[in-house]
């Protein structure tokens, strides 16, 4: 039996896409990230610029306004990594519709796709998001406190969902809720009766406009329950997305730190000439390499239709711990300068802590 060779080469298409993503990250996302963070408001032009890559449109059927390409978790993960090098918040915010479309493509039926996807078939930002998280310290996605109950053709949803990016601008949500000992996904339109959206300030990801959804007796049509809903797949693909966010942001931390430690002098020479400083940079490089390869392996297994639950789980665990280490060391290398808001280090630090907290947030 012949199986594909071990290979880390990007396809020509991935390479070209990578270049334009990185250009946007470097020229637009990175310079404008701070202002948006200060304002706690996503920059619409940046959201549109990211939406312009059409990641949400890729898997959508042509008849609905999409490109009808096969689902590609790997290409999505590469895109998330590249964009997050510019800014994690805008990447997470702007790619929520992609995650929502992916959920409908993977778990929904044709009627559901026809009903909900055309609203998102645009090259400017149009919101839709996954609502998985809940505000509990011991939250376990497989045991949500949000409940659905069925009466005839109507499901009634009750509960609270949190950490939903760009919620105020969303057309609809995929809400994850428990029903009869199972976990199910429902499409809930933003204007549904009983659904209220309240913005919630967080330590970081401030320009992603995170909000809490409260569902009070929200009625959902039976036809809007996703028939193929698979929580493990949703969580696994989201873990890959979170890893890609972490890898991109950590790469930014390292790249920003290198010139600084070579220029900053103490005791008459650049601090980079001291092993205690140089080794921190070395360890950033070493851990980013491991994080990236784990993320890529999980993504490439998902792409090939292989089981990827464990790979994504371990990659996310590695990323949430190592990314925070890199985030905190980024500030440490800059000393006081890392702590003041003139530099992006403290923003990256705040953003990177989210990798341990987001669940099911960015399904690639």
């Amino acid at each position: 039996m012949s199986t594909p060779l071990f290979d880390l080469t990007l396809t020509e298409e991935q390479r070209i896409t990578r270049e334009s993503m990185r250009r946007l990250a470097r020229d637009s996302l990175s310079p404008q990230a701070r202002a948006a963070d200060d304002a706690a408001m996503a920059n619409p032009a940046l959201l549109d610029a990211i939406s312009g890559f059409g990641l949400a449109l890729m898997p959508m059927p042509e008849a609905l306004g999409g490109v009808a390409m096969p689902r590609s978790p790997l290409s999505n993960a590469l895109a998330v990594e590249d964009l997050a090098q510019g800014d994690m918040s805008h990447t997470l915010a702007a790619l929520q519709p992609m995650a929502a479309v992916n959920a409908l493509m993977d778990f929904g039926d044709e009627q559901q796709q026809e009903r909900w996807l055309p609203a998102l078939a645009a090259e400017t930002f149009t919101g839709a998001a996954l609502a998985v998280n809940e505000p509990r310290a011991t939250f376990e996605p497989a045991a949500p406190a949000t409940m659905a109950s069925k009466d005839g053709d109507i499901y009634t949803l009750n509960g609270v969902k949190s950490l939903v990016p760009m919620a105020a601008q969303c057309e609809w949500f995929v809400v994850v809720a428990a029903i009869d000992g199972e976990v199910a996904g429902f499409v809930v339109p933003a204007e549904a009766e009983g659904l209220s959206i309240e913005s919630e300030p967080y330590m970081g990801l401030r320009s992603a406009n995170m909000a809490t959804l409260t569902l009070e007796n929200v009625a959902v049509q039976a036809r809007d329950r996703l028939p193929g809903f698979d929580l493990n797949r949703l969580l696994g693909l989201s873990r890959i997305g979170q890893c890609a966010l972490a890898v991109g942001c950590c790469q930014a931390v390292m790249q920003y730190s290198i010139p600084y430690v070579k220029e900053r002098k103490a005791f008459g020479e650049p601090i980079a000439w001291r092993q205690s400083v140089a080794f921190m940079v070395a360890n950033m490089g070493i851990e980013i390499e491991g994080m990236r390869l784990m993320m890529l392996r999980a993504a490439s297994r998902a792409e090939q239709g292989l089981d990827f639950h464990k790979d994504a789980y371990l990659a996310q665990l590695q990323c949430m711990e190592k990314a925070m280490e890199i985030g905190t060391n980024g500030i440490q290398l800059f000393g006081g300068a890392g702590f003041v808001r003139d530099y992006p280090l403290e923003m990256w630090y705040r953003n990177l802590r989210s990798i341990a907290v987001l669940h099911g947030s960015l399904m690639v």
Binding site: M1, S2, T3, P4, L5, F6, D7, L8, T9, L10, T11, Q14, L74, T138, F139, E140, P141, A142, M254, I258, V261, K262, P270, A272, W273, Q275, A278, F279, V281, A282, N283, G285, I286, E287, E289, G290, M291, L293, M294, L296, R297, A299, S300, R301, Q304, L306, H309, K310, D311, Y313, L314, A315, L317, Q318, M320, E321, H359
Partner: protein, 397 residues
Amino acid sequence: MINLEIPAKLEQVQQMAQQLAAGVFRPIARKYDAIEHCDTPEELKPVAQMMAAMPRGSGGKGGGDEIKNGSNMTGILAVEAMCWGDVGLMLSVPGSGLGNAAVMAVGTPEQKEKYGKLYCAMAITEPGAGSDSAAVSTTAELDGDEWELNGEKIYCTAGQRCDAVVVWATLDKSLGKAAIKSFIVPRDNPGLQLVRVEDKMGLRVSDTAALSFNNCRIPKDHILGSAEIGDTEEARKKAFGGVMQTFDNTRPQVAAMALGVARAALEITRETLEKEGVEADFSKQPYNSTARELELYRLEADLEAARLMTLKAAWMADNGQPNSREASMCKAKAGRMGNEVTLKCVALCGELGYSERSLLEKLARDSKIIDIFEGTQQIQQLIVARHLLGLSSKELK
């Protein structure tokens, strides 16, 4: 196309090595840990023949655009699997010496013919020169048609049992790195004395020797590479760089040792814990898991990161890409991971881990040296840092 799975072709090699590890190495691992000083174990002699016959992927620098999974990757998989069985025994298989790698990398056709199939050790470290290999003070002097070597070498793996030793010596200490050359010395040369074989914490079956060279004379053609010393700073730098480049290929192989040891410890730990009802099945969020489950996940994640990094470094070598940075990255990550994993596994299994009834305590003793030999953790970090920061060895000492 990005794919990080092992292709079926290479899996066969992996399986062969795994069978060898399970069938030959594991059953005698304890026995030779207790014996420590002995000749090459009889059980390893047929293994040496088998290994020579193992299929090797077409490797080395690739022409054209075809991606290769070649001899470097094959080596990683074979070493990892054998070290799952026992690192000390793997290192004791005749023909597996680091000296062999050097002869095959830079030897002349005659040298390869004569010494390539023998068991060649490598002698670099001296009492006064460890990580700073440029500081070796063993001398080599040309006298007529022979080189005469004088000096002391320590921590020479297989220095007792080998057929020949590749010795690092300087032609002129005042000329620094550029004057360091390596020489092949047959083990039975009367000028080469075995001073002692070390008693060690782990890797006991593998002999670690101190050697003494006293007016040790070898034929002129027993130098590896050229005898010339560059006359410009640039040429000298390049010459030593060439010697150090051998390490770019061997470091991932040493990283692979840590992978094997760590996998062995994790498997035993999982089995042990499962018998007592610990099920680390990735079903709950990390922080909703028990402390033991979470620790198992962490260790496995670290092992996976190190494994993929090691494969990448070897893959780069197979495809003719410069991999000095990645070789050091994987050695640094795998070296510390192997030590951390094996030590945590002992702790996770309590008395069962600490007792000699299981292999865990032995794996924890064996793993430590992997973060030291072939470049310590700190040397690897130094190399990685110089690459990332673009600093020279004069700037970042």
